[in-house]
């Protein structure tokens, strides 16, 4: 067993919550992959005769205003919500790490300009910027991904820049350069891989945030079409019925959102314990 695995096992033993979060995460991913087979009903077939029914043995999570089975809709929505979050965070991670990495390494004019753009992005209330972006680019799911990626970008860029910057003149970087590595390869093969563990923690925490963000956008009616099974829009549709006591329309999609985000966040905390002992709380 390598030292890293041993260390990971050691930390995990002291922190069963992380193991639990990892299990939960695996479940969520499995649901996302196999949801079409798991869903007991057709998620978009309406059945007005059985509309707005509370949870029962037939419909575990009740039915919505069109008689659609809420559980099936939640299960099927997992794939969409998860892929929005993963692709948004992936996109901003790749771009942020590259841009931030090169800026931190080279410094100079490029660095100053990128720094200024990041400052401008950070001056926006981020959710509002995402709203405006989706509205401007058009009401499509891809645009939710792009908007979420853009509002995440400043954090990754800053993070990668700072981490690369402190390592720029380290002995092993000098050594790599002395061995004849080009600048490009120093950044890509030496500096960025060293920054990666710290960024992994960020990614996990950001995924939760990205899911909430995407759900928030669709809650206000941006991005996802009304009939699509998606957690945010399900909450938005259920909102009309909350004052008459139909809690399951909001409660179950809300619970799905919460549990998924919880898994991501706990996993992020756990990853930090494993990868970065200095930050342990």
């Amino acid at each position: 067993m390598s030292a890293t695995t041993r260390h990971a096992m050691f930390v995990l033993r002291g922190n069963p919550v992380t193991a639990l979060a990892a299990t939960g995460m695996t479940l969520v991913v499995l649901v996302a992959v196999f949801s079409p087979w798991l869903a007991p009903y057709d998620p978009i077939a309406s059945d007005v005769a059985h509309a707005l029914q509370p949870p029962s043995a037939e419909h575990w999570a009740g039915t919505d205003q069109l008689g659609r089975d809420i559980l099936s809709r939640i299960l099927v929505a997992t794939r969409l919500d998860l892929s929005i979050a993963v692709s948004a965070v992936g996109l901003s991670f790749v771009i942020g790490a590259l841009v931030g990495g090169f800026c931190g390494y080279r410094g100079g004019r490029l660095d100053r300009w990128v720094g200024r753009i990041v400052d401008v992005l950070m001056a926006f209330p981020l959710f509002v910027l995402a709203m405006a972006l989706v509205a401007a680019m058009g009401n499509r799911v891809e645009n939710i991904v792009i908007a979420t990626a853009i509002i995440n970008l400043p954090f990754y860029t800053r993070f990668a820049r700072a981490e690369v910057n402190v390592r720029r003149d380290a002995g092993w970087v000098e050594a790599a350069r002395a061995c004849g590595e080009g600048h490009l390869s120093v950044v890509l093969r030496f500096l960025l891989p060293n920054v990666l563990p710290a960024m992994a923690v960020q990614i996990s925490l950001n995924l939760g945030w990205a899911i909430l963000n995407a759900a928030g956008l669709s809650f206000i009616g941006l991005g996802v079409q009304a009939s699509t099974p998606e957690w945010g829009i399900m909450v938005a549709e259920g909102a009309r019925f909350i004052t008459t006591g139909k809690w399951w329309l909001v409660g179950f999609p809300g619970l799905a959102l919460m549990l998924t985000v919880l898994c991501f966040n706990l996993l992020g905390d756990g990853l930090r314990d494993i990868l970065d002992p200095r930050m342990r709380t």
């Binding site: 509002v128 405006a132 206000i220 945010g232």
Partner: protein, 344 residues
């Protein structure tokens, strides 16, 4: 003393000046985003689907939409510099009037929420820090972990379900005050203050109960970062030499905790409060929508969905400006609380 005041003034001036490029960037980006938005507001606001081409052209001309975008941008910047934020096409009012009327509603909600959050977060964080590893500490940590996972629009709706539908304690969760009740005379625009000033305590109570649910929703959302930061900073302060000295000198525990530790521990909390405030500005959009709160965020959202540029641009600019102001304020407060900071 006079030197300190001058130093603070210079610091404020510098910070404000250095934030101008970012604000300018915000204005330009928002402007461009609004212009590439699909949908032509002239068509939207023409008299009807049957409106002729000539009528639409005339509207476009009146709205300045027929000029090239760079020209429109320069004109817009000139207007903003003179305080003219344009006219909302949905309400027909100048945007600045609309915003002035609606801003107090948003600010009242945000400040109340922040107050509630601090009221709970600071004691929770302190208690957790006093006994690290105890059940209290674990409870606080769990609360924080859960708090950031629940989206505001879900927690708001569930609060409505429990307190309005099940318990019947909260009033109908729409708007700032019951539609049949009289709103207070317009003095500050903050209902709680206006009712208090005129001494109408029944109205004050009505406005307060109406405000409580949305404020709690938002407070839940920001409780976690505040409590977490209080705990962390309290822990590090409690480990300091001066705390050991104080207890060695026989000072009472309450005195040590409240006077010596807490005062020092609150500095980082102050910084986080600034960040939290700016996230609340964004979260306002969702909370105001859930509670039909007539604030600036719901105004901007309605305008956005109607392709009405001017209110959205003004809203984003306003939020960015408030954000910058809050940061400068936090900076100044920090400098006053801890004079070592302002030396550099």
């Amino acid at each position: 003393m006079r030197g300190t005041v001058l130093a603070i003034a210079r610091r404020v001036g510098q910070r404000l000046l250095s934030s101008i490029p970012a604000l300018l960037g915000v204005v330009i980006i928002t402007f461009i985003l609004m212009r590439v938005m699909p949908g032509d507001p002239a068509v939207f606001f023409a008299s009807g689907p049957s409106a002729g081409k000539a009528e639409i052209e005339e509207l476009r001309h009146k709205m300045g939409l027929d000029k090239p975008i760079p020209v429109q941008l320069v004109l817009y910047l000139k207007d903003v510099a003179t305080g003219d934020l344009g006219r909302s096409l949905t309400t027909g009012q100048p945007v600045s009037t609309d915003i002035r009327r609606r801003l107090p509603a948003s600010l009242e909600l945000t400040f109340t929420a922040l107050f509630i959050a601090l009221l709970f977060a600071v004691p929770l964080g302190v208690t957790a820090a006093l006994r690290p590893g105890s059940p209290v500490d674990h409870f606080v940590r769990m609360l924080c972990t859960l708090g950031v996972c629940v989206p505001t629009f879900v927690s708001g709706l569930l609060l409505i379900y429990v307190f309005y539908y099940l318990l019947g304690w909260a009033p109908d969760p729409t708007a700032r005050i019951d539609i049949f009740a009289a709103s207070p005379p317009e003095i500050t625009g903050f209902y709680l203050i206006d009712f208090a000033l005129t001494g109408e305590w029944a109205g004050w109570w009505a406005a307060f109960t109406q405000l409580l649910l949305p404020a709690c929703t938002m407070a839940l959302f920001v409780l976690a970062p505040l409590a977490r930061m209080t705990r962390a900073s309290m822990l590090s302060v409690l480990g300091g030499d001066f705390i050991r000295t104080a207890s060695a000198m026989g000072l009472s525990r309450t005195r040590i905790i409240i006077v010596y530790a807490l005062r020092n521990a609150l500095l980082p909390v102050l910084t986080i409060t600034g960040i939290v405030f700016s996230t609340m500005l964004g979260a306002n959009v969702l909370v105001e929508k859930v509670f039909s709160w007539p604030g600036v965020a719901s105004y901007a959202l309605d305008a956005l969905l109607a392709a009405d540029y001017a209110p959205v641009q003004a809203f984003v600019l306003l939020m960015a400006t408030i954000f910058v102001m809050v940061n400068v304020l936090i900076d100044v407060l920090y400098g006053i609380a801890d004079p070592r900071v302002s030396v550099e």
